[in-house]
C-alpha cells in the first residue's frame, strides 16, 4: 500500500526556523499539496464536492486539481448532500478513498443521516468486516453577515458521534499533515476548517507526511494557566498568552488538533502542571466541546485544580448577520484574556 511509506511526524518545524526545513506556503496551498500528493500516490483517492473544479477551487484548496488528475477523479456534484455522502460511503466500502469537500459546514446537516447513521457505525455494526475510509472537509466562514445558516461552528454535534473522527487544524503544517493522515485513515474523518486559517502562511515540508490523529500540540509552554484552543482560536490564545507574559503570567497553550480521538493525556498533563484550565471553542457553549474538556479535567484531575475550569465558547444562539450584532456574538482573544484573569483570581 502506498500509504505505509508516509512518515508520521507530530513535530512541526519552529516557525522561526530556517527555510531548509520547509517552504513557506499559504494555508490553501498546503491543503492543495496534500490532495495532489494523495491523488498521485493512490488511484483509490478521489475528490468530490460542489465547486471543487470551479475557478475559485474551494478557496484555492482544490484549484486546478481536475486539470492534473482528470474529471473522473476530481468532480463537481449535484446539490444532494444526503445521497452524495452515501455515494462516498458506498465508494469507500468498495475500496476507494473519497474526499468530499463542502465550502460550508451548515450543509453537513443534510448529510447527518449518512454520517451518523451509516459511516460512523459501519465498522462496529458489521463486527469489523467493513471500514469506511472517507474524508469530509468543510470550512466555517465568519463575518460579512454570513448569518445563521452560513457560519455555524458545528463541531459539538459531530463530536458526540462514536465512530467518527473529528479534526480541526490550525497551522499550515497541520493542514497538510492532518489531511494526509485523514485520507490514510480507514475511518470516516470530518475535518472542520475555518476561513480565518486561510490567511495563514507557514513552513510546510515538500515531502508527504502525516500528522497523527489524536495527538495534541503544546503550542506554547507555560506554568500558571492552561488554555486549550482549537482551529483559529489557537492564534487568539497565543496572543492572549503574549499579553500575560508581559505581566509575568505564564500561559500554556494546548492545541488538540483532533477532537476525536482526543489527546486526553496531553491536556491532563498540562492541567496537572498549571492547576488552571480555560477551554476556548467556537462552538455553542452548552453540551459542547469546551464543556466536555472541562468535565474531563474535573473528573480526572480535580485534585490538581486551583480554580474551577472555565469555558470560552460561542453563545447558545444562532449567528446574527448585522455587523454590530456579529461583533457582539463572536469570541476571541479578549474573552480568553478575561477567562484567564478569572481563573487566576481564584486561589
Amino acid at each position: 500500500m502506498p500509504w505505509s511509506k508516509i512518515t508520521e511526524t507530530s513535530l512541526e518545524p519552529a516557525s522561526d526556523g530556517d527555510d531548509a526545513r520547509g517552504r513557506i506556503l499559504s494555508y490553501p496551498e498546503a491543503i492543495r499539496e496534500a490532495l495532489a500528493q494523495s491523488l498521485a500516490i493512490d488511484p483509490a483517492v478521489f475528490v468530490m464536492g460542489q465547486g471543487v473544479d470551479d475557478p475559485s477551487g474551494m478557496f484555492g484548496a482544490t484549484r486546478g486539481l481536475h486539470e492534473t488528475f482528470g474529471a473522473d477523479r476530481v468532480f463537481d456534484t449535484p446539490l444532494a448532500e444526503t445521497a452524495l455522502t452515501g455515494v462516498a460511503v458506498g465508494a469507500a466500502l468498495g475500496g476507494m478513498r473519497p474526499v468530499y469537500f463542502h465550502n460550508r459546514p451548515d450543509f453537513l446537516y443534510l448529510a447527518m443521516d449518512q454520517l451518523a447513521n451509516h459511516a460512523a457505525k459501519w465498522h462496529y455494526m458489521f463486527g469489523g468486516a467493513a471500514c469506511v475510509p472517507l474524508v469530509l472537509w468543510a470550512c466555517t466562514g465568519r463575518g460579512w453577515g454570513s448569518g445563521a445558516q452560513h457560519s455555524q461552528a458545528v463541531q459539538g454535534l459531530f463530536f458526540q458521534i462514536p465512530g467518527l473522527k473529528l479534526v480541526m487544524p490550525s497551522t499550515c503544517y497541520d493542514a497538510k499533515g492532518l489531511l494526509i493522515a485523514a485520507i490514510k485513515d480507514d475511518n470516516p474523518v470530518l475535518i472542520l476548517d475555518h476561513r480565518f486559517n486561510f490567511r495563514n502562511r507557514g513552513y510546510v515540508p515538500e515531502e508527504m507526511y502525516a500528522v497523527p490523529l489524536g495527538r495534541a500540540a503544546v503550542r506554547r509552554e507555560g506554568r500558571d494557566v492552561t488554555v486549550v484552543a482549537a482551529s483559529h482560536l489557537v492564534m487568539d490564545a497565543l496572543r492572549a498568552a503574549e499579553e500575560f507574559a508581559a505581566q509575568g503570567v505564564s500561559v500554556e497553550v494546548v492545541d488538540p488538533r483532533t477532537l476525536r480521538p482526543l489527546d486526553e493525556e496531553t491536556i491532563l498533563n498540562s492541567v496537572a502542571k498549571t492547576g488552571r484550565l480555560v477551554v476556548a471553542d467556537t462552538g455553542w457553549r452548552s453540551g459542547g466541546v469546551a464543556a466536555e474538556i472541562c468535565a474531563l479535567a474535573a473528573e480526572r484531575c480535580f485534585d490538581a485544580l486551583k480554580a474551577p475550569p472555565r469555558r470560552v465558547a460561542g453563545p447558545d444562539l444562532p449567528t446574527p448577520a448585522g455587523c454590530t450584532l456579529e461583533e457582539a456574538y463572536y469570541i476571541g482573544k479578549n474573552e480568553i484574556v478575561a477567562a484567564v484573569r478569572g481563573v487566576l483570581k481564584q486561589k
Binding site: V89, A91, F126, A129, A130
Partner: protein
Amino acid sequence: MSTSSDCAPASPAPSRDVLRGLLETMLFIRLFEEKIVAVYPDQDMKCPVHLCIGQEAVAAGVIAHLRPGDYLTSTHRNHGHCLAKGVDPGILLAEFFGRASGCCRGKGGSMHPMSPEHGILGTSAIVGGGIPHGVGHALAAFLRGQDAISAVFFGDGASEEGSFHESLNFAALKGLPVVFVCENNHYATNSPLGARQPNPDVHRRAQGYGIPAERLDGNDVEAVYAAAGRAAAHARAGLGPYFLECVTYRWKGHVGPDCDYEKGCRPKDELFDWMERCPVKRFQSRIEDAGIMDAAGTQAMIAAISARLDAAVAWARGEKYPDAAEAVLGVYAPAEV
C-alpha cells in the same frame, strides 16, 4: 440454489436449469423465513425480523443475473436477497441469534447482514439509506475500471425519501452500472401506498431522470427474470442505470412472524387475494405442468432445503455468544492501512 449465472441475453427463454434454480431459490427463501416463524416463539432469536414471505420472486429473478463480483445492496427486509446471492443460512441465523460466528459477530442482528465475498458491503435499516451506497459501489467499480454492476433493492417507502431521488439523479448523471429494484409491496410499515404517494407508479419517477424503467408483476418470477436480464445487460454494456418496479405483496406484518390483518392493519381479503397469487406455488405448478420437474422432484427439493435449514438452526444455536468485552471493541478500524 442458483447464486449466479452468466448474463442472460435479453430475449431467449431461460434454460430448464435456470428455471429449476429459480424455483430452488424461491423455496429456499420461503422455507428460511418459515423456519424463523417456527423458532421465533422460543424467544431466543432476540432481534426484530422483517420477513419477505410473498416477495421471493423478486430476489430470485433479479439476483440470478448477478455474478459473484457484483454488488448487492439491501434493506431491513433482506433475508431473501442475501440467500439468493449465496450467503450461508447458518451464518445469517447465528447473527440473528446474537452469536459470535454470525456475519457481524453478533453486532448487527437481522437488519444488518454483511458478506463482502458476496458483494454485500453492509445493509442499512434506515429507509432509503442504502440506495446511495449501491450507487457508490458502482462509482468505485467505474473508477477502477472493474467489470461489476450494482443491484440496489428497496421498497416503495424508500421511493419517498430524498436519498432515492438524489441517488437516481447521480447514477443517471454519471451513467453508472446500477440496477435499481423497487419491491413495491404496497405498504411502508402499516401505511398504504395511497396514503403516501399521489402517483402509485414508482417507476415513472425513474423515467423522469432519464433512466429506462419497467413496472412488472413481481410475483411472476419468469417476468422478473426476463426484465432483470434486460436491466443487467444494459448496465453491463455501460449504458447506465436501469430501474425495475416489481409489484408484489408481503404476507406477514411489517416486523415479526405474525400476520397483521387481525390488528386491522390491512383488509383480510386483500391479503388472501395476494396469497392466491403466491409466487412460489404459481411457479411450482408452472414448472411441473411444463414437465421440467415432477411433484416428487419438487418434494425432494423441499425436503433437502428443510434438512439444510434444520441443520443451520441447530448449528447456529450451538454457537457461542460473543464475550461481553467485545461490546466496547471495534468502534474504529485500526488507523494503519
